[in-house]
């Protein structure tokens, strides 16, 4: 991430600021200088993660939103009405917070603005220090690059390789492979699975490293030959996607297959902002 964002966060923490740090790639909510929530268009929201697989029935979630959303204390409502234990709520909320923060603090997440006084509707669960969030975000970036140093895979729709005998995959990875149709982005796959986006990125990097997914080096990258499959798939996504995807793609399509030239991946690069915007558009179109 750029140097300015962490230092801006540190200053806000020192001033015990309350509000929202807004970037193109996501939002970090602070209360009294600590991080209390994060959201990103590239990551499933807390509503998706809490209701995943029927853990919290959607009607109970809606009830909590109706009853406590306006007062910004949905978390408190879920606990008061014993919808889940304090421990489980903390676990799920922290998982969602760090997941979205990874994108919100992306190196090329654009300029930052701070809206003083903004409060997130979910309510406070377990505030985390700014330093912890920044450190964890960096650790995650290093972790992914250690697995397979191709950061454009964080945003590009994964494309399956159906060749040769490939090594076996775990059940979690099989779930990701089943949804890798060359159109869905990692964020969309995570939302379908009800998993944090970062977990999907981990699976995608492992799958790409194992040869199950195309790494799809961009034409501008290094000396490596291009991966024709990836570009074909990108072009196909503009025309043949399902309704939501198609309409979302259409709005931002001009840049889609003419993605900006990125530096070599080994520098640990950034998610493609244009793709992240498409993810946001697609998610909004579904709501």
């Amino acid at each position: 991430m750029t140097a300015q964002v962490p230092s801006m966060l540190v200053r806000l923490a020192e001033r015990r600021a309350t509000g929202a740090l807004l970037r193109d790639t996501g939002v970090l909510y602070l209360a009294d200088g600590a991080v209390v929530h994060a959201e990103s268009p590239a990551a499933p929201g807390i509503d998706v993660l809490l209701t995943a697989g029927g853990r919290l029935r959607p009607e109970l979630w809606r009830e909590a939103v109706d009853e406590a959303g306006a007062a910004c204390r949905i978390a408190g409502y879920l606990l008061d009405h014993r919808r889940m234990s304090g421990g489980e709520l903390e676990i799920r909320h922290l998982s969602a917070l760090y997941d979205a923060a990874y994108f919100a603090l992306a190196p090329d997440g654009g300029p930052s603005r701070f809206r003083h006084g903004a409060v997130h509707w979910f309510g406070r669960v377990r505030p985390v220090g700014v330093a912890d969030v920044v450190r964890e975000t960096r650790r995650r970036r290093r972790y992914l690059d250690d697995l397979w140093p191709h950061s454009h895979l964080d945003a590009a729709p994964p494309v399956r390789v159906r060749a040769a005998p490939l090594p076996p995959v775990t059940r979690r990875q099989q779930d990701v492979l089943d949804l890798a149709d060359g159109r869905r982005t990692p964020g969309q796959i995570a939302t379908r699975l009800g998993r944090p986006a970062f977990h999907t990125l981990v699976d995608i990097r492992r799958l790409a490293a194992a040869g199950h997914l195309e790494t799809g080096v961009r034409t501008s990258d290094r000396s490596t030959a291009t991966a024709p499959g990836t570009r074909t798939a990108t072009a196909a996504s503009a025309g043949s996607g399902p309704a939501a995807t198609t309409s979302a793609t259409a709005r931002t399509a001009p840049g889609a297959s003419l993605a900006p030239v990125l530096p070599p991946d080994l520098t640990g690069g950034a998610p493609d902002v244009a793709v992240l915007l498409r993810v946001r558009d697609a998610l909004e179109a579904r709501l």
Binding site: G54, R55, E90, I91, R172, Q174, D178, G194
Partner: protein, 170 residues
Amino acid sequence: MSGIDECLLEAMRLPGARGAALVEWVSGLALGVVGEAPGGDHEAMAAEAAEFARNAAELPVFSRTEGAMDRTGADEPEGRGAPSGTGEANGAVDPAGSPAGTDHRIAPADKEPPVEDVIVVARTGYHLLRFLEAPYEGGVFLHLWLDRAQANLALSLMRMRDLSERLVLE
């Protein structure tokens, strides 16, 4: 029990406890830490223990339940059978009737993890990893580091099981 910190502090009351953490094994995220960490680095301890836990949870040799009765038995949806050698534990099937829609794969993982505990006996200490029995897609485990000279392994294991259950139930 009201949350992660209470759970970890309670684990630290065990004889010989040196450090405890709650860790998400897919990401290596430490959700909470108390006490010491080997080398003083909680982040490294969480990341390394997560890698170890991931292998325990996913490698077929540990998770396969061949010969044992499948817990969900006849409820196994069509096509869920694990091709041999894929790392899909036979026990890792989705509960039938999941409200997640028609695609049975978009359902929570098994409530009960195929591996429950991992115990590492080091020269001077024990490391106990206890997987939480909850449908966390992320997979979460409790990690307790104990001084081998002072710890009671059987007692610690029982207490960890109790703590992990209460963390998500109460």
